[in-house]
């Protein structure tokens, strides 16, 4: 089938099989390999992207369901050379170790902060419950999200 999907701000028309999963469309058709597949069973969050601005696990969405909608992947967050505040906070606070979970963590965090710009530590932890870090680097991930929230709130004031 033919799908038209806005990926990272640019509209793309592509032929896909009806059964194509969104994560395979992103990685194989669009060549954007920042989005990882971890568990392939909706459990780990590594494949998290934004669909119309909200976090979803792209291993459990059909590309066909995204037809006519917008998808943002980790590649679409930075503004040119300037990293997104959440990306910058992950770098500064050492919110990553091997980096495998990181694209999903960052996308889930962006969605979380959109819904709750000033989360508490506990709200960050429950807000990221769908993302697993196999290096178990949760402490610095939570620190990163809190730092990004603080910076974004300051910038808005």
């Amino acid at each position: 089938m033919h799908v038209t999907i806005n990926v990272n701000g640019e509209e793309h028309g592509d032929e896909v099989e009806d059964r194509t999963l969104l994560v395979h469309y992103i990685r194989d058709t669009r060549g954007l390999t920042g989005t990882n597949v971890g568990c392939d069973t909706t459990s780990c969050g590594a494949c998290t992207v934004l669909l119309d601005g909200e976090s979803v696990k792209s291993c459990t969405v059909l590309a066909a369901q995204a037809d006519g909608h917008s998808v943002t992947t980790i590649e679409g967050l930075a503004d040119g050379e300037s990293m997104h505040p959440v990306q910058r906070a992950f770098q500064e606070k050492h919110g990553l170790q091997c980096g495998f979970c990181t694209p999903g963590m960052v996308m889930a965090s962006v969605s979380l902060l959109r819904e709750n710009p000033n989360p508490t530590d506990a709200e960050v932890r429950s807000g990221l419950e769908g993302n697993i870090c196999r290096c178990t680097g949760y402490h610095n991930i939570v620190e990163s999200v809190l730092a990004a929230a603080e910076r974004t709130t300051e910038a808005a004031e």
Binding site: R19, D40, L51, T60, V61, L62, S111, E129, G130, N131
Partner: protein, 271 residues
């Protein structure tokens, strides 16, 4: 894991969805949020030939004030239930329980209709619908019919929705001020409940205590006869036949049900 090949059709209206179901019969499966169906299709436990996507029907996604009751469109997502101000005020049990489903990503996709029609006894919203005496509106080629929640869940993954029909709306009488509670015992953050308990007033429903979601009738009868929450909770395991598997034995679940029912009743009374 990739689903077996199928033909994707996006329904443009409820009537169009019904027409597509009529055209393809048993070969077709409705797709709402896809968070129960797609995992089954990836494991090839479900192999539909035609997938009819309801996701493009915004007119089935709403939470509306209908005077004495609240009406919820079948395609309303868990996230929208959890954040609905109207539900938070008038049916807080449903808003709260929806917020405990899976994780934020799951709640951004999964819908109340999909959750109810899937009929998984380990799911949260079926028990919540039972405790709240919800009325489910099912539409088929011959028109709409209303099914009380107590008659909706037939058996293991089987509901009153027949092939060729779809669930369009859930109606719940307003509960402002009524005591309620939801207990969900899980081993890990995003797991389904080992046992769950939904309490609305003196109505008590159980998650994962048998082949289908059920009301804890013996507990309700004890309460009606004047028993205290602690006394009534001792009846929580009566009539149940919970799963006996690697996560928990049946005996453990029956013990847990008594503990959680007591907690839920005490919290509901304190609210």
């Amino acid at each position: 894991m990739i689903p077996a090949a199928f033909t994707y059709r996006r329904a443009s209206s409820v009537d169009d969805a019904l027409a597509l179901l009529a055209e393809h019969g048993e070969d077709a499966k409705l797709l709402a949020g896809g968070h129960s169906l797609l995992p089954l299709m990836k494991l090839r436990l479900a192999v539909p030939e035609v997938v009819v996507d309801l996701g493009g029907l915004p007119d089935l996604s709403y939470v509306e004030d209908r005077g004495d009751s609240v009406a919820i469109g079948a395609l309303t997502r868990h996230h929208d239930l959890a954040t609905s101000e109207l539900l938070g005020r008038e049916v807080p049990l449903l808003a709260h329980a929806a917020g405990t489903i899976g994780d934020p990503q799951v709640r951004h996709r999964g819908t109340i209709g999909g959750s109810l029609v899937h009929g998984d006894p380990a799911s949260d919203l079926p028990a919540v619908a039972l405790a709240l005496d919800a009325v489910l509106v099912v539409r088929g080629p011959a028109g709409s019919r209303e099914v009380p929640a107590t008659e909706f869940f037939k058996d293991f993954f089987e509901t009153a929705v027949e092939p060729g029909e779809l669930l369009t709306e859930i109606r719940i009488a307003k509960r402002g001020g009524q005591g309620w509670d939801f207990q969900k015992f899980t081993r890990r953050a995003i797991d389904w409940a080992i046992v769950g308990v939904a309490v609305a007033g003196d109505a008590v429903a159980l998650v994962n205590m048998g082949p289908k979601p059920m009301r804890a009738s013996a507990v309700e009868a004890a309460l009606a006869a004047g028993a205290s929450p602690a006394e009534a909770a001792e009846h929580a395991a009566e009539g149940t036949s919970p799963p006996d598997e690697h996560n928990a034995s049946a005996a453990y679940r029956q013990h847990l049900a008594k503990v959680l029912v007591r907690r839920a009743l005490e919290n509901a009374r304190a609210r």
